[in-house]
């Protein structure tokens, strides 16, 4: 039986708790802790689960990012990826270019049985790379997946929508799955797994070697500014009843919502 290849696209993102400093007018000081994008952890955990069920299978983590993203791939391998591919780039890219680069790197490596990724990245919050990747491959895609079941030639997924509704969708394999938070509880690696991940392969490809032409469609950051906070906190004091009375008055007179 041929190897079932599970590709997991992961992004190297600043720690959500990091202090972000804007340099110049369009980029951030990258001298902060970077981590694997949280939603991608759900994708990796799911990939490791599928590998069990679909043996023989392998999990390959793929990332477009700076050389430092090797750390993120090491975390991905500690969480279960067997090997990884880093498409090294010196700059940030939009999702249009990113999806082309990921497609090219995956297609060069092998034939995907399924592709997983997080439903969005917490830094740029684009919410679209997975759909573009799927379109580049001509594959079906679903986002915010909270349940995934592989059948013979199909994936049965449940996608969370608003107010607790879910869509139950069948996609032919291969397909692209955008992991939502409800998919699983990420399994964090044990120390031996971390040690083992250091020996796993990170194949580095220079982005230029993929020969991707500059897309005619793109988005560019013209300006990046720290979010200004212009709130001047005022204390409400007195007894609980007095505080409640003041809140009700604020809702009525200032905010005009009641």
């Amino acid at each position: 039986m041929s190897l079932f290849k599970i590709y997991v696209c992961v992004k190297h993102v600043p720690d959500s708790a990091a202090t972000i400093t804007v340099l110049g007018s369009d980029r951030i000081d990258a001298n902060v802790t970077f981590l694997i994008n949280p939603y991608d952890e759900h994708a990796l955990t799911e990939a490791a689960r599928i590998r069990q069920q679909h043996a023989p299978a392998e999990v390959v983590a793929v990332c477009l990012g700076p050389s430092a993203a090797e750390n993120t791939l090491r975390s991905a391998m500690a969480m279960g990826a067997d090997r990884s591919i880093l498409v090294v780039t010196p700059q940030d890219h939009d999702s249009i270019f990113t999806a082309r680069a990921l497609k090219s790197a995956i297609a060069q490596d092998g034939e995907p049985g399924i592709i997983l990724t997080g439903k969005e990245a917490i830094d740029t919050e684009g919410m679209q790379t997975l759909f573009r990747l799927a379109a580049n491959f001509g594959l079906p895609a679903a986002t915010n997946v909270v349940k995934l079941q592989l059948q013979d030639a199909a994936a049965l997924v449940e996608c969370e929508k608003e107010s607790g509704a879910v869509d139950v969708i069948r996609m032919g394999l291969p397909c692209v799955v955008g992991a939502g938070k409800g998919l699983n509880t990420p399994r964090y690696p044990t120390f031996p797994e971390i040690v083992k991940s250091r020996k796993k392969e990170v194949k580095k490809i220079d982005v230029a070697a993929l020969g991707i032409a500059r897309p005619a469609s793109r988005v560019e950051i013209i300006e990046l500014k720290p979010a200004v906070e212009n709130r001047a906190p005022r204390a409400l004091t007195g007894s609980a009843a007095e505080i409640a009375r003041q809140i009700a008055a604020i809702l009525k007179e200032e905010a005009r919502v009641i």
Binding site: P14, S16, T19, I20, I28, Y39, D94, S95, I96, E125, G126, Q128, L130, R132, A134, A135, P140, A141, T143, N144, C159, E160, K161, E162, S163, G164, A165, V166, D167, V168, I169, R170, M171, G172, K181, S217, R218, V219, E220, I221, I222, E223, P226, A227, E229, R231, P233, R234, A235, L236, A240, I243, A244, Q246, I247, A248, I250, E254, V257, I258
Partner: protein, 322 residues
Amino acid sequence: MEKVALLIEFKAGRVKKANFGMATLVRRSGKAMCAFVVNDSAAEAQAALEPYGVQQVVAIRSGGPGAAWDPARWARAIAAAMDRFGITQLVGLTTPQGRDLLPRIAAQLDAPLIMDCLEVDLDRQMVKTSRYSGKTVATIRLSGRHFIYGLRGNAVEAQKAPVAAERLSFDDTPGGDGGFEVLETRSDGGEALNLAEADVIISGGRGMKSGENFRLLFDCARLINGAAVGASRVAVDLGWVPYRMQVGQTGVKVNPKVYIACGISGSVQHFAGMKSSGMIIALNTDPNAAILAHCDYYAVADLFDVLPELKRQLTASMSSAE
């Protein structure tokens, strides 16, 4: 004249309120507006949207009469309708439905898309949106042949400007399903109001101490028109309330007129989801809680004392309004 299409979203047969702000945004650009309605009532859309300056309603019929929701097929139909009506700019909402449709349309057209826009300049194809967990605001330029925008709920205040609208229709052409099939849509009958569209949100965190105590928040929310209840991740992780109520970096991003945080410390990840709120009110027993330094009004007080009083106040102001 250049026309901009609005992707209208319905809920239970009615046009969602958030569409009116979206129509207002496009009307202010001075461009003609055309509302796309997929498999929902164009008559209802016309009646609801005429007051906001929409001059044209296009009923897109996808999948034949009675066809159920199918994001892949709808996206193809919307892209085809854009082509048919010569639309190069499409504006939708950053709701769960918008998150499922707009990226599919953008991928199909290989068009630039920015979700969760706070501002959109339709003349220059520039938007403002938050980046890095709400810690920065980015001005972004889109280039391409088509431009797609997902607007953050409540980003633009709706303003009336009545016109009369004409109604057109467009039928999609059947094609293969592309290996994608919606088998069913299930609902657990969750709360009626989506957090992202609420005018007022009352949220609870670890300080609520149990899921049952969230009743205190629901009791107040019920007394405020357009109010919904949210939660911090801790309250979700402890199993007190469902994940869809989580506000923050890895939850829903909200933009209400008023956000009331009860027993929430104000972590950066929580702020990432609610910092653009019009007004923030915090109730916390800890005078050093981070949220107290980043809000408009706060009370260092026990939520279990204040919330029952607030319920009483709201009940009183409701009956005095009648």
